[in-house]
């Protein structure tokens, strides 16, 4: 972490000393408001230097420094010792325009929206035109310049009123549009700015129209109101420091946390973002889940929501979904994440477990349902097929037995034989449905070769595995190859295809690829969805690479020890 404290303090104190000694002190003995004015300029300068050094790319610091400098002609113009010159007068309104610019550009340093730019433009124009008009009026110029200048001078308070109202309106709108976390960060400065704006406009109105005995108090009020702006800014900087101290509290909170979403809430509290969500990384499924194991989808780059990745070493831990205002405090986020890293890793493992349990429960339910449906289907097939046929065989044979005509008996026997052969066909289909016989006879390699042999597309088999496999894995792999090759035949319009079985690292990798049309999408075809479920039911993972026109490669990793 950078330690800009010393150099900032030196620089800022130097600026303030120059201000107070050179510009403030000589006149203060005669007029106390001089001293307050000097403090105003000095405080902007001080806060400006601090802000500029802390966030060099943010224009807020620059603007505050500019206000501190632009305050000099204003201060001098009120002095009796300094002769009023055109240049001084032309510049002495500039600070107000800069202040207007600062209010509307806070906290990003950029003016958002056309309205803000117009208002700030008008303020700068006012800052130049009005003092000049006032001065020219005093020199009593010739007509028509004189009437024009008098008109400008007279109408200045109306323009000022409108500008002030616009600044208040815009600042208010901007504040209300901000998120909770953003508001929290900007509220002190925005409030001080709004009060200062009101005071400034009131001061001008009093000077133009009001009773003279009100003039001095309102000037003091305005000065003090402006001084609160840099003070509020410095205050919020200090609060950021305090926030970082809260990271220490976070560590304590984490130790006592009991609820699964406790970490998320602790981080939300520490980072002052109630909308903060944590997504835990599941490496082998390449997705995020929440503490309960539900999938977390990262929002697209929409307004106001930002994601920050939390890594530990080289491995990905989690992602924070938070308000973009937090980007203003990268060090705080970093510190909080570092403090919570261990808890995050713990929570990630738990979330991973929960997600797996959830998946397992879902796939178990699916498998039970599927098994039940399969059993019903087998029962129905046996009942409607084999049993009916054998019944008819018995009846036909009974008829043959009863008949006395040898020719009729022969025909009936033939009929019975045909029915028996047909029931054998039925039985073959049923037992194939229960468990593919080829798998029993030849294991997975033989079964895959058989599938390849009956596929219309030329299929190359690369089998690099040691048997035996657990029966469940063997079956799953068989059905995956079977359904994948069926998809190749039906959809891929492929010239060639391949099946690759590789075993290693306690896993069986099943790969089925083709050089066909690609574009396979699990979201569209239920066949692919079935494959995903089959893979998940065996604790595996399915990956499809199927770009339009570039073939399809389907890979399933099945764990098998």
């Amino acid at each position: 972490m950078r330690r800009p404290g010393i150099s900032i303090a030196v620089l800022a104190s130097l600026a303030v000393a120059v201000w107070l000694l050179v510009i403030g002190l000589p006149e203060t003995r005669r007029d106390p408001s001089w001293g307050v004015g000097a403090i105003l300029g000095a405080s902007f300068l001080f806060a400006g230097v601090v802000a500029w050094r802390l966030h060099p790319r943010n224009r807020v610091g620059l603007l505050m420094v500019a206000i501190g400098i632009a305050w000099i002609p204003q201060q001098l113009s009120a002095s009796s010792e300094v002769p009023p010159r055109l240049v001084w007068l032309a510049l002495c309104g500039l600070w107000a325009a800069l202040a207007c610019h600062l209010f509307l550009a806070f906290p990003t340093g950029r003016l958002g929206g056309r309205a803000s730019r117009i208002v700030v433009g008008v303020a700068y124009a006012e800052a130049v035109i009005f003092p000049v008009a006032v001065m020219l009026t005093r020199t009593k110029p010739a007509e028509p310049l004189r009437s024009i200048m008098e008109f400008v001078d007279d109408s200045s308070w109306q323009v000022l009123l409108v500008t002030g109202a616009a600044v208040l309106g815009l600042a208010m709108t901007r504040w209300r549009e901000g998120s909770v976390a953003q508001r929290r960060a900007v509220t002190p400065v925005v409030a001080a700015s709004m009060i200062a704006t009101v005071a400034f406009v009131a001061e001008r109105l009093v000077i133009s129209w009001g009773p003279e005995d009100l003039e001095r108090p309102i000037v003091y009020v305005t000065f003090v109101a402006f001084i609160t702006i840099p003070l509020a800014y410095l205050g919020s900087l200090i609060r950021h420091r305090i926030d970082r101290a809260r990271v220490a509290d976070l560590v304590v909170t984490l130790r006592d946390r009991k609820q699964p979403d406790g970490l998320e809430r602790a981080l939300a509290t520490t980072l002052h973002d109630p909308t903060l969500r944590v997504g835990y990384w599941m490496a082998d499924q390449a997705r995020y889940v929440d503490a309960e194991g539900h999938p977390v989808t990262l929002p697209p780059k929409e307004h106001g929501r930002v994601t920050t990745r939390v890594d530990q070493g080289r491995s990905r831990l989690a992602v924070l979904l938070h308000d973009e205002a937090l980007l203003e405090q990268p060090l705080l986020v970093e510190a909080a994440c570092a403090a919570a890293a261990l808890a995050l890793e713990n929570e990630r493992l738990t979330a991973d477990l929960r997600a797996r349990l959830r998946q397992l429960a879902a796939s178990r339910a699916r498998m039970l349902q599927w098994g039940e449906a399969e059993r019903r289907k087998i029962e129905r097939d046996l009942h409607d097929g084999v049993q009916q046929r054998l019944l008819s065989v018995a009846m036909t044979l009974g008829l043959a037995e009863a008949t006395t005509d040898p020719a009729t008996a022969g025909a009936l026997m033939g009929e019975a034989k045909a029915a028996v052969l047909a029931s054998l066909d039925d039985l073959r289909a049923v037992s194939h449905g229960i468990h593919p016989p080829v798998l029993t006879e030849r294991g997975l390699p033989g079964a895959v070769k058989e599938l390849a042999a009956v596929t219309p597309v030329a299929v190359e088999c690369v089998i690099d595995m040691v048997e035996p496999l657990p029966p469940a894995v063997e079956s799953a792999a068989y059905y995956i190859v079977n359904e994948s090759l069926a998809n190749v035949t039906k959809h891929a319009r492929a010239g060639r295809a391949w099946v690759r079985l590789t075993r290693g690292d306690g896993r069986l990798m099943v790969e089925v690829g083709d050089d066909g049309c690609g574009g396979a999408d699990p979201a569209r075809g239920s066949g692919l969805e079935g494959l995903i479920h089959r893979a998940e039911a065996n604790g595996g993972r399915l990956h499809i690479d199927s770009q339009e026109g570039r073939g399809t490669v389907l890979r399933v990793m099945l764990p098998c020890e």
Partner: protein
């Protein structure tokens, strides 16, 4: 003709022995596992060994492996593999490089004694017998519109199937109720269309047809 039977189901083994005796075969051995069969054949080779694919001890592919061993060790003995299921890949393995004296049929085929006996005699005489189901699976792979097989007439495809099953021209002629000359003409036409090198009279034509179908 002398045959040996290897089948673990007593019911089927005894039934088959009775059936074959009825059809005029001499059943020289009826055993229930592959080792016994190999031992008996080593001692007294029959003309044809008939064996099931699933045999003890594991009831997986012992019969198939025993058939391959037999073909290697006793090239003169015809081998007929019977099974509840027929598989293209098994057929390819059994016929690998040599179609003399090999048969692969569904067990169902025993129900047509005349046909079945003819198949055994074909295998015993050095011919081949491939189940129509396997042939059909091989033929049905050739569905692409640009496949030369699509250009065959329906009758030519019938002839091709029967050739692949290992039947002689005379048998094909009887089956389709056409003249043997017509079968020969169809054969020449088929081999021309498919661009096969072996001629329709070549004794290796079964191999040529199967290689084509399995390509």
């Amino acid at each position: 003709m002398r045959v040996a039977i290897c089948e673990d189901s007593t019911l089927f083994r005894e039934g088959l022995a009775r059936l074959l005796a009825e059809a005029g075969f001499e059943v020289v051995a009826a055993v229930d596992d592959a080792d016994k069969l190999l031992a008996r054949i080593g001692a007294d080779p029959p003309d044809v060994a008939i064996l099931d694919i699933r045999l003890p001890p594991t009831h997986t592919d012992e019969g198939l492996r025993a058939a391959l061993t037999l073909r290697r060790r006793h090239p003169a003995v015809g081998v007929l593999v019977l099974s509840q299921y027929v598989r293209v890949s098994y057929a390819v393995e059994l016929l690998d490089g040599r179609v003399e004296g090999i048969g692969y049929l569904l067990k169902d085929r025993v129900s047509d004694l005349v046909e079945f006996a003819a198949a055994i005699r074909r295998v015993g005489a050095g011919g081949s017998a491939l189940d129509p189901v396997v042939v059909e699976q091989l033929v049905s792979r050739h569905r692409q519109p640009d496949d030369p097989l699509i250009q065959l007439t329906a009758r030519e495809r019938d002839v091709l199937r029967l050739m692949a099953e290992g039947r002689t021209n005379l048998a094909i002629a009887e089956r389709l109720a056409i003249a043997e000359r017509t079968v020969e003409k169809h054969g020449t036409s088929i081999f021309g269309k498919l661009g096969l090198e072996a001629g329709p009279h070549d004794h290796r034509r079964v191999l040529a047809v199967l290689r084509y179908l399995n390509a």
